[in-house]
């Protein structure tokens, strides 16, 4: 940071003292030795691990330390061909014709195996991705298991997915997932695909391939037939090859809006089914009657969860004028108490930024906001000097046209604006090209319903934020993408549907 953090105006000496005392805590480091990180990982194609055809590898590093973790095979076009062909053979060779009950049992098995090895997955996720162990342990891994468990039960009930429609699988599904929830996104994508009778080629993110590869190992432990789930690791070019592959019947992509549009163009006219879960600039709207203690925690969850590397993050705070001063004072005090540091420390609230490129991007946004005259608040306490870290940051004094008010930062940075009336809140919330998430904080039920009906957002959290569940459809509108994942609606995206009797 080259900008000078604003001293928290509302922080009296008592708070500063508390913050100092808070800084002095005993680290409680989760043991790393529950997981063995191999020096080298291959592609998982047709049930076997192998090197890339051209022998290329790329490195994955530990964001908290910068240390090299492992070399991972970089899949080229030929490897993607092999993976898609293996998935096709597995599909036609039996998976599509397997009774739903059998597919269900396989998925239940995977869910149980993931629960059995949850600690290993949590530690590996925090090492490779940088997220706090508290989150990988309590959210990512249990929720990944829940997605497998929930969708397992759908496999033999697909005729109920959409009323009046008979359901058949689509074929081979290409799934491209991001680095912010590597294991959770893998489970979130694989579970409905397999439940519906499809086979999968999964492309994990370049910076976080390890838990997806461990999941592939676990899928093999569950004795799934070879080729039902294939994993091709690599950079964006691997994902592009997979998305545009003519042997793929459906593409499911989670990532940036720019890449989403490129996939859409690449697939234009092909008839390939597609779901896109893209960026967001979620507004967290706080009305003056809201319970401010809960609001503060909700805002913190909304923007500092997973370092703000969350497409549905509540990255904009819209607060009604009458309570703006008090809420901001409380928030500024609250961020003094957030512990930024070692992802494997169970005390840590905010872990490491996933990559140096992302860290630069976040810095650029905050420096730009400072240059535009915005007020920047950051905790007084220093962040670790080694590794990739960025402090929780509150940007206020916005006009609304600044980049930080409109564009997705994907970091622990909250942009604050105020409003007077409900209509103004809705207008400001909707003043982005995105439409993924929004939050509403008020004690008045009718205000929640009125506001939620007018927000252009696929998910609205009222008096809560960042809640997820496999039974609940998730996804955006406008430039946040289309299609839903989770729930009955998410299943429909993995099925070929036709009216019963047609």
């Amino acid at each position: 940071m080259t900008t000078t953090p604003h001293r928290a105006a509302g922080a009296d000496s008592g708070t500063a003292g508390l913050a100092r005392a808070f800084a002095e805590y005993v680290p409680s480091i989760e043991a790393r030795d529950v997981v063995t990180v191999r020096p080298r990982y291959g592609l998982v194609i047709d049930g076997a691990e192998r090197e890339a055809r051209e022998g290329r590898v790329f490195a994955t590093t530990e964001p908290a330390t910068g240390a090299h973790l492992a070399d991972v095979a970089e899949a080229g076009d030929g490897d993607v061909d092999d993976a898609v062909a293996a998935a096709r053979r597995a599909y036609e060779g039996g998976w599509r014709d397997l009774p739903g009950r059998a597919r269900a049992k396989y998925l239940f098995r995977i869910a149980r195996l993931l629960q059995d090895r949850s600690r290993e997955f949590a530690v590996l996720e925090s090492i490779d991705g940088g997220k706090p162990i508290r989150e990988s342990r309590d959210i990512d891994v249990p929720l990944a298991a829940a997605h497998l468990f929930h969708h397992a039960g759908w496999a033999d009930k697909l005729e109920y997915a959409v009323p009046g429609m008979s359901a058949r699988p689509l074929g081979v599904v290409g799934q491209i997932i991001p680095w912010n929830f590597p294991l959770l996104m893998a489970a979130w994508k694989i579970a409905p695909a397999l439940a519906c009778g499809n086979t999968v080629v999964l492309k994990p993110a370049e910076t976080t391939p390890l838990t997806a590869l461990l999941l592939a190992e676990l899928i093999a432990e569950a004795d799934l037939p070879p080729g039902v789930v294939n994993v091709v690791t690599g950079p964006g070019t691997t994902g592009a090859a997979l998305a545009a592959h003519p042997g793929v019947d459906k593409v499911a992509f989670t990532g940036s809006t720019g890449v989403g549009k490129a996939i859409l163009r690449a697939l234009a006219g092909t008839g390939t089914r597609l779901t896109l879960e893209l960026g967001g600039k979620g507004a967290n709207i706080v009305f003056d009657d809201a319970a401010l203690d809960q609001v503060v925690e909700g805002i913190v969850d909304g923007i500092f969860f997973n370092q703000g590397h969350v497409c549905c993050a509540g990255s904009r705070l819209l607060v009604q004028e009458g309570v703006a001063g008090e809420l901001l004072d409380r928030l500024r005090r609250r961020i003094e108490l957030l512990r930024v540091g070692d992802p494997l420390d169970k005390n840590t609230d905010v872990g490491a930024i996933n990559s140096s490129a992302q860290l630069e991007r976040i810095r650029g946004f905050v420096e730009g906001a400072a240059a535009e005259g915005c007020r920047i608040d950051q905790p007084a306490r220093a962040i670790p000097s080694e590794g990739l870290f960025f402090p929780p940051t509150i940007v206020s004094g916005l006009g609304g046209s600044e980049a930080i008010a409109r564009e997705e930062v994907f970091g622990p940075v909250l942009a604050v604006q105020t409003f007077r009336t409900e209509a103004e809140a809705v207008a400001k919330a909707n003043a982005t090209a995105y439409g993924l998430s929004a939050g509403i904080w008020t004690e008045k039920g009718s205000r929640i319903l009125w506001t939620s009906q007018r927000l252009r957002a696929g998910v609205v959290w009222a008096n809560c934020f960042n809640q997820f569940d496999p039974a609940s459809p998730f996804g955006g509108v406008r430039e946040s993408g289309f299609g839903r994942e989770g729930g009955r609606q998410g299943l429909a995206e993995y099925l070929s549907l036709a009216p019963v009797g047609a």
């Binding site: 234009a268 896109l276 893209l278 696929g458 009222a462 509108v477 009216p499």
Partner: protein, 279 residues
């Protein structure tokens, strides 16, 4: 000279509840199979497309704000007025060469489609949304939301081709810009008169007669269009139109006007609201 001289009709566009000629001043002659001139039908231009999208956007919020029951009643009124106009519409199809029985069947199918979709409006949320049983103390409720402004590339076959796309789209709370040409040009223009007298608010349905190949790229490009139904798009145009639609992440669909839940779901998206259920 004996007998009464007939009053000929001017076939115009239908935009924002009004009947303008094309801003471009262009028309397309429509003739009988043996070459007798029937009319110079307005030929919509890029500017008409923009005007129609603006009218549709302006009308969308209020239309979405109607209750589904009310939208259903209005669409049923469309069916009633269509029934009353059925002889005229069939006659306009016959005049351009559609066999008499086929013309009548087309209009009847259109009327029946309107009735089908009228009755769908207040079932959509129950069929496509619902309460989701999440693992926590929350009420988790999914409802449908319209996409906004829908561009409809209608097949130029007749009345049904237009009505079968317009009705499910507006049923779900969208407003539409529908484009049809060919043998459907006369009836599409007349359909505007049906809509205008059916309590459909101005701007909810906008009807353009013109050339698909010329106008669909503008609709696919338009940043204020949220969905494009390519059911009647010319063969071979999909790759170009879908690539254009990618710029603002428009949905591209091909419902074909099928009367089922999938068509209804194609015209809406799901919004899910969470609220804690603990105190």
């Amino acid at each position: 000279m004996t007998g009464r001289l007939e009053v000929r009709k001017t076939y115009k566009l239908f935009i924002g509840g009004a009947f303008p000629r094309s801003e471009s001043g262009r028309t397309t002659p429509v003739t009988t199979p043996d070459g007798r001139l029937l009319a110079h039908v307005a030929q919509a231009s890029r500017k008409d497309v923009r005007d129609a999208v603006r009218a549709a956007r302006g009308a969308q919020g209020a239309w979405d704000g109607r209750t589904p029951y009310n939208r259903g009643q209005i669409i049923y009124r469309v069916a009633e007025v269509l029934e009353g106009r059925s002889a005229q519409l069939a006659g306009e199809l016959e005049a351009v060469g559609v066999a008499s029985a086929d013309a009548r069947a087309d209009v009847e199918r259109a009327i029946d489609a309107a009735v089908y979709w009228a009755g769908f409006a207040d079932k959509l949320d129950a069929l496509a949304g619902g309460v989701n049983p999440v693992a926590g103390p929350f009420l988790n409720l999914s409802t449908t939301v319209p996409l906004g402004v829908c561009a409809l590339a209608c097949p130029g076959t007749g009345v049904h081709g237009v009505v079968s796309l317009v009705c499910p789209a507006i049923m779900a709370g969208n407003t539409v810009v529908a484009l049809a040409g060919g043998p459907a040009a006369l009836v599409t223009s007349t359909l505007g008169e049906v809509i205008a007298t059916s309590d459909v608010p101005g701007g909810v349905v906008n009807l353009l007669t013109g050339d698909h190949a010329q106008l669909l790229p503008w609709l696919a490009d338009h940043d204020d269009v949220d969905l494009i139904d390519l059911s009647g798009a010319p063969d071979g145009s999909a790759a170009d139109l879908e690539a254009r639609a990618a710029d603002n992440l428009k949905r591209t669909v091909r419902t074909g006007g099928a009367e089922d839940l999938l068509t209804a779901m194609a015209f809406c998206e799901i919004r899910t609201v969470w609220h804690p259920a603990r105190i």
